[in-house]
């Protein structure tokens, strides 16, 4: 979706300020939200792409005003209700109307192994590659209303295939209908001037990891 989360190239966001000796979490509730989303993710009711899309759907003014973990809280609540783990009434009252059925909560003794495990989006299926390193490509001018990982700032821009990363789950369909639609994901190099016009520095470039469905031959 053409959401406010797609921030690449926007102006007016102010300076980048690095906090010295920054803690991992700035409040206990941030740590709890982080852990809640990680733990509930192992219930198997949603995938990473659905989780990202839940945060992208936060209304734009609220998204910009929110802190990072407030966005996580918004997304987590949306996922819990949409996937039927919690009802809207339970969320509002804080009281459980029913116990969960067969769903098994992540156990503390399993945490280390689960966090260490591979949940790669890489898929081990043979899919022919349309492009190879060095091929000129153009990012499609498309405006998906659902989840996408094709930022607006590269749509319609010409680049060059840098690397073929191999076959991965396609986020756009995986987020909307759990269809993995496995396809090649490429590192694509774009000249700064192709993206930003004469203000871009001549030898600078931006590399994006783009799925085959985002690209045409140029």
């Amino acid at each position: 979706m053409n959401g406010v989360h797609d921030m690449g190239g926007m102006h007016g966001m102010g300076p980048v300020v690095i906090e010295r000796d920054e803690p991992v979490f700035h409040a206990d509730w941030e740590a709890r939200v982080y852990a809640l989303l990680r733990a509930t993710g192992f219930l198997g009711k949603w995938n990473t792409d659905m989780s990202r899309f839940s945060r992208e759907r936060m209304p734009p003014a609220a998204y910009l005003a929110a802190t990072y973990y407030e966005r996580w809280l918004f997304g987590l609540q949306a996922l819990l209700v949409e996937q039927g783990l919690v009802t809207a009434r339970e969320l509002a009252t804080g009281r459980a109307a029913t116990k969960a059925g067969e769903t098994a909560a992540l156990r503390a003794s399993d945490v280390a192994a689960r966090m260490r495990g591979r949940l790669s989006a890489r898929v081990s299926v043979e899919v022919p590659a349309r492009f190879k390193p060095g091929d000129p490509v153009v990012a499609r001018r498309i405006n998906p209303v659902g989840h996408t990982r094709l930022p607006r700032y590269v749509r319609g821009r010409r680049g060059t295939i840098h690397i073929d990363h191999g076959v991965f789950t396609f986020p756009d369909t995986n987020a909307m209908s759990r269809d993995p639609k496995p396809q090649h994901c490429y590192s694509v190099r774009f000249d700064a001037r192709e993206l930003w016009g004469p203000e871009g520095t001549v030898r600078d470039s931006v590399y994006l990891d783009l799925f085959e469905d985002y690209l045409d031959a140029a």
Binding site: D6, G8, P15, T67
Partner: protein, 211 residues
């Protein structure tokens, strides 16, 4: 005296809980009551990312690459496997790529769409990395952002910005600073900073007192 929940929280924590803190506490209670979450598992997740997983992991990778040319070659050709050799991997580090900085090439990593970041080697991302300012500006004005952060690059240095738009996760291999000849891997690791491994800083030469 009324049984006001807000007052009970004040007594428990000596200060009032803010809006999100109250909502998160209520949500956790609900999920525990429903059997969907074990609070001890939450504690274990938090402990892992607060005390064990962090940029000290990435610093070990960088220091090894600086001292072991064969390791560096493996790191640059199959980063996931080379990082696993040292004992790191897992969530948000399943498919790693390492980018080598050089005198005329400077790499810097961003996630314009959210906050993608290589957790197993750098830990959870800092606020600045997730900020609207960094996400918006790193791709259109990388030199301006780097300059603000104290890193001035001359025009003959090529700047490569890596926008983490898919599931690949990036770690920058900074240049080894001068004045570290003969240093051990363990000594070198103490110099490597998080910001240098994201690409918004260089690793500074050691202070005279460090040598």
């Amino acid at each position: 005296m009324s049984h006001d929940h807000g007052e009970e929280h004040v007594r428990e924590h000596d200060k009032p809980l803010s809006g999100p803190a109250l909502r998160v506490k209520a949500l956790e209670s609900l999920l525990v009551e429903k059997g969907l979450v074990d609070p001890k598992a939450l504690d274990a997740i938090i402990d892992l990312y607060e005390t064990k997983v962090g940029p000290h992991n990435g610093a070990r990778i960088v220091a090894r690459a600086w001292t072991d040319p064969a390791y560096k070659r493996r790191l640059l050709t199959d980063a996931t496997a080379a990082i696993e050799e040292v004992g790191f991997g897992g969530s948000e580090g399943e498919d790693m790529v390492v980018l080598e900085n050089a005198p005329k090439v400077h790499n810097v990593v961003v996630c314009t769409l959210c906050s993608c970041y290589p957790w197993p080697v750098l830990g959870l991302p800092p606020v600045w990395y997730k900020s609207a300012a960094y996400r918006a500006r790193a791709v259109i004005d990388p030199r301006g952002v780097l300059s603000e952060l104290g890193l001035e690059l001359t025009d003959d240095v090529e700047v490569r910005v890596w926008d983490s738009t898919a599931e690949l996760r990036y770690l920058v291999l900074p240049e080894r600073p001068a004045g570290t000849e003969g240093w051990s891997e363990e000594q070198l690791a103490t110099l490597v900073t998080r910001d240098a491994m994201v690409g918004v800083a260089k690793v500074p030469p050691p202070k005279a007192t460090d040598r």
